[in-house]
Symmetry: C2
Subunit: 413 residues, 2 copies
Amino acid sequence: MGKLIGNAIVGQSGGPTAAINATLAGVIRGVLENVHGGSIKTLYGMKNGVEGLLKEDIVDLSKFFADSKKITTLENTPAAALGSCRKKLPKKGEDDAVYEKLLWVFKKYDIRYFFYIGGNDSMDTVAKLSEYTKGHDYEMCILGVPKTIDNDLVMTDHTPGFGSASKYIAVTMQEIIRDCAVYKKQAVTIVEIMGRDAGWLTASAALGRVVSGVAPDYVYLPECTFDMQKFFADVRLALEKHPNVVIAVSEGVRFADGTYVGEGTQSGATDVFGHKYLSGTGKALEMAVKDEIGCKVRSVEMNISQRCGSHIASRTDITESVDVGRSAVHAAAEGVTREMMTIVRKSTSPYKYEIGHEDVSKIANQIKEVNEEFINAEGNNVTDECLKYILPLIEGEVAAEYDRGLPVHIIIE
Amino acid sequence: MGKLIGNAIVGQSGGPTAAINATLAGVIRGVLENVHGGSIKTLYGMKNGVEGLLKEDIVDLSKFFADSKKITTLENTPAAALGSCRKKLPKKGEDDAVYEKLLWVFKKYDIRYFFYIGGNDSMDTVAKLSEYTKGHDYEMCILGVPKTIDNDLVMTDHTPGFGSASKYIAVTMQEIIRDCAVYKKQAVTIVEIMGRDAGWLTASAALGRVVSGVAPDYVYLPECTFDMQKFFADVRLALEKHPNVVIAVSEGVRFADGTYVGEGTQSGATDVFGHKYLSGTGKALEMAVKDEIGCKVRSVEMNISQRCGSHIASRTDITESVDVGRSAVHAAAEGVTREMMTIVRKSTSPYKYEIGHEDVSKIANQIKEVNEEFINAEGNNVTDECLKYILPLIEGEVAAEYDRGLPVHIIIE
């Protein structure tokens, strides 16, 4: 492919993270710093991913970010400044009208570079668009830029967004453990953590173990079958050692028959309106422990703050997230297309990485689970090796700008 | 009362906060800096408040904190480093044995100064002990030092611990609002905030309004009667304006008949074990909106991180919390007794305060609600004046020490 000259467009897709805007900032920096050697004229942003693109809901980012201080603020703004979507493109041959419309928009705005920041589903979009554009004479560079707090994309050492979510979880868990330690009365605290299919985030709850020696008693990942009787035995054993037992559990843990713990335990419960009551995994285990053991028990759901807690973002993660965005612009300028940018770990101690790229069609719709050797034999905790793998990714703090006590965010109108 | 010469003891009681250890640090600094003119020899700490004191479970803090760097770390450690308790002392004349035991411990350890850091219930302990010791020839100085995230103590402008919890809530709410803004689909997000009897914390969710203009659509406080039909009308009105509606609600909101919203809505729900299902206020409203309006709805419970989120503590709060502890030692040296330390606001803009003290018997068991003029006419939000009153208390960030990505805490063995 010869060097393409034209405009570029960038979009964000899937669940928000504390670092996805840093990657957007990286793309903007790459374009504005002219790393592409002048081949990219204007950088557009699509609002709400391909959903907005289909409606020509686009903004001129080159103009909006002419003031570079705004780009720094963007790096510290959580969620997706361009808005996001959950739209999946149709399978090849199923509904070509969608692809034709996209191509029409690309041509109308002279868009030759397409950067899409997202996770698994978003890489599916990138792969499908890559496939579609192969058969057309309108040459385009199409690149996926990874982000997901779940760290479950294959072919990259880890994903931008994971480090900040991981840090939020580790920091919050340390504080919860301190909070739980104040009374002498026996109590079990169950902390539910995101990650339905992969346990990387839940594993992060134990990071304190290799830093301060303070960690939850158990860590239950979706990679291991959940056994309620074994769980009760675990809790009883911990209560014999100390009065305040703290447990980290993934929202995605399942029984041997494949049903989710959050679904199975409460299947009989309905609310006053007759709704099936879906309480979540932590709440289900809270009820189970109350019934079986009878001690004081509570559950805490870390909830969406895990993915948008940018005030405690990881410096390493933000730096890498910017880097991966800027590198996508570099790669595009070098003619790379139909790939997803990756992070390649060169060394853990001291931590070193490089940015690479891999065939996006091999990445979409795959899930990278926690390695077997990172999980203990009993299946109720992670190993120190697992924590040492994660630890460099949460290092460093961001110097966010504050206005009267609140972090400053940017909103792209 | 002449100047007492002897030892001092300090304890922590009630719910943990991000700032109660800063107040403990203030007491330690006061004693070690000799602000009392040598009248206090050794500073002891009671483990788990009066509960530990009755068992002589005490530590020598003068020794433990000989290294002043440890005191700084203590200021940034959440929860209660000495442990806490919920013990209430018996009423006068009901069970004198408890008081006799306490007096026996005071005499045994030559304790002449008693500092008790806590909220409403803890001030009850201070008031009762003050009353009891009046009738004895063992002269003692007894002082209450306030802390509670709830900001519901009377006769003090605000309470140490409130500013940090308030900042956590305001910062987290801004991030949640960013997170909620990414999709175009109609959705209601209900955020449940602590404070069963007073709405100060829930009011803090709206602080962004006077800083960045970004705030939840509604704020429901326990000071106002909750009307479900009015609530539905409020939600519908907001959905007409924008697709992402965010609501802050106190865990303590109640219907006109006095029942809690978290209790009333789901009185018929039971889990598979037949337990009455207590989901909390946010969950109850989530179910109600789902049933009545039918759009996407979720609830978020900020939970215990509100009170232990020391990584985002308010600099103002931590400074004041240290100050109030140190000032208690000063006051004690000047012969003040049977009082609670207070914060007196001298000016809001620029923010200025002084430390004072008031008769503890007039403070215990009272609740300071959110002033009527701080609530809007409809009873579904707070006024700008309310937010301007709170704002100075969340200003400034702490320079916590981090080790490999995690804040450093101290544990008193």
